[in-house]
Amino acid sequence: EPALIFDLGGKFDKSFNEAAFNGAEKWAKETGGTYREIEMQSEAQREQALRRFAESGANPIVTMGFAMADPLSAVAPDYPDTKFVVIDVNWLDLPNVRQVSFAEHEGSYLVGMLAAMASKTGTVGFIGGMDVPLIRHFGCGYAQGAKAVNPDVKIVANMTGTTPAAWNDPVKGSELTKAQISQGADVIYAAAGGTGVGVLQTAADEGILSIGVDSNQNHLHPGKVLTSMLKRVDVAVYEAMTAGENVETGVFTMGLKEDGVGYAMDENNAALVTDEMKTKVEEAKAKIIDGSLKVESYYTNDSCPALSF
């Protein structure tokens, strides 16, 4: 029986964890199988949850988030017969761990292109939850994409805050959105958890476009959300669960090529993305996949060529 460990945000965070939940649910529905799940309560429990599942014979154990890396390196060696899957980690050296990381910068690059193309003002916005490397990573890809379309594009980037409340403060998200609008932004990309709800809402209220993140959030405000940067955590979880105990270990990066990231198109935003825009983005996507276009990762040397933090 597989197990799934959600990160602190909780499984209904409308993005990262919820995507994992959806993947697991899809697996359960298709196979009729059951899985066990828990939501983290505190940092100290990460190890606890891992051990408890491992002890109880769950296999594989799917865990979410980079914060699991550390506890995993302590626990995994103790249970060599158990397979662990960790999302958003790619730097561990453990034989029984499948590490899946996403090329968020690639997906963000594409939505950045869309943003710059959809923008009439030549100014696009980015709102991150907290100033942490992962969020910079998102912002960096986005900025590169926007600049690729329009080298003169102005990118307004903001972070919500520095306490955990930063991820759950839609009111602040709203105000940041308004502040960015007043600085000319007419497309805003939110990578800020619950705060993003406020960004998308206000963007819709104020009549500008927004871009969702992680899951497809286009449906939240039909016709007002330009697109969503998809991070197919659901796919990663689904695949891992489907593979079951025989899941392949090692480091896997899910980029555009692997369909691990992408941009969402559905009936809600069909009218917003013109064929011309789509063609351009698909072109870039193809180039990234074949390697002729390289999107710089913020992680490579903790800096971004297109945006300074």
Binding site: M159, T162, N168
Partner: protein
């Protein structure tokens, strides 16, 4: 900084200051009556949740507002029960109420809507929208006054105007009515009120109820006017900031408004000007994020001086045991 930017920052300040102001005035009634209240945060949160939930279910924001007020007043009643009837420790009761609201809102939301502790998004009549004041459009063209009126003064939700009106109303109630006189007296010396033949318990419960009412509006404003739905912990510490503003204002209504506006302005500025570049150096976002708090401390230390709380505040009124 051009004129329009200033207007926009002020506009944002007003929105950010409104929930603070309502909560701050709420605390003012309670604390002026001698009941300290660190549970403002919890009451706002409960109101934010229930108003959004009821608005989502009924489609009427007014019913939502009522429900939010009711939620907040129930918690107020609990605070009154603990600190007035049973003469418990007011700080403990406030802490408990914050915990209770934080847990129950998500618990109930999850049980009710199964959307991860959120309410569904509100739209249409389930939400407060901005009011366009008379002549706003007509006047917009007039230099200076026009934009100020159209951009800054007009266009807010009705709750904002309510909050602003609550300031002179509070002043008037406090200093010009019998109720206000008694309210202030019971926070300074409940024995004087008691021996004057007035019920201390009744007065204090009335104060606590008003506190619940205003906190309820503050919470409803967050989830149905500023936002279109409830998200867990969405008050994000605003109750504590309101408390700080109350002390800052030395428990006076007009000063409370200025204190809340100050917090609003500082935050609006910090939000607007993240990542300022000074030549080669970029001021880190964290510095701007901390700036409102640093400035508050500086202002407090530099200009405000000692704040003296209502003398009977925090102590239960015990005649005999």
């Amino acid at each position: 900084m051009d004129f329009l930017t200033i207007l926009q920052i002020l506009d944002s300040s007003v929105r950010l200051a409104t929930p603070l102001l309502l909560a701050c005035l709420a605390g003012l009634y309670s604390e002026r009556a001698g009941i300290f209240d660190i549970g403002l945060e919890g009451k706002m949160l409960a109101a934010a949740f229930l108003s959004a939930a009821v608005a989502a279910v009924t489609g009427s924001v007014w019913l939502g507002l009522l429900a939010g007020i009711a939620a907040s007043m129930v918690l107020s009643g609990l605070h009154g029960l603990a600190s007035i009837t049973f003469r418990g420790n007011q700080l403990i009761s406030g802490v408990a109420i914050n915990f209770l609201a934080s847990g129950l809102t998500v618990l109930v939301a999850q049980d009710w809507f199964a959307q991860g502790g959120r309410t569904p998004s509100l739209g249409g009549d389930a939400r407060f929208t901005g009011l366009t004041l008379p002549f706003a459009d007509a006047l917009a063209g007039v230099p200076v006054i026009g934009p100020v009126y159209a951009e800054l003064i007009s266009g807010h939700s009705i709750l904002v105007y309510l909050a602003v009106a609550a300031v002179p109303a509070t002043w008037w109630v406090l200093y010009r009515t019998r109720f206000g006189l008694r309210l202030r007296a019971v926070g300074e010396n409940p024995a004087a009120v008691d021996t004057a033949g007035i019920s201390v318990v009744g007065l204090r419960f009335a104060a606590v109820a008003i506190c619940g009412l205003l906190c309820g509006i503050a919470g409803a404003y967050l989830s149905t006017a500023l936002q279109a739905g409830f998200v867990k912990e969405m008050t994000a510490g605003r109750g504590f900031i309101a408390l700080a503003a109350l002390i800052f204002a030395k428990w006076r209504p007009w000063q409370a408004m200025w204190a809340c506006l100050l917090f609003g302005v500082l935050q609006a500025i910090a939000l607007r000007y993240q990542n300022i570049r000074l030549g080669e150096i970029t001021i880190p976002v964290q510095v701007m994020d901390a700036l409102p708090y640093v400035l508050t401390v500086v202002i407090l230390a530099g200009f405000v001086g000692k704040a003296i709380a209502p003398r009977a505040g925090g102590e239960p009124y015990v005649k005999e045991r």
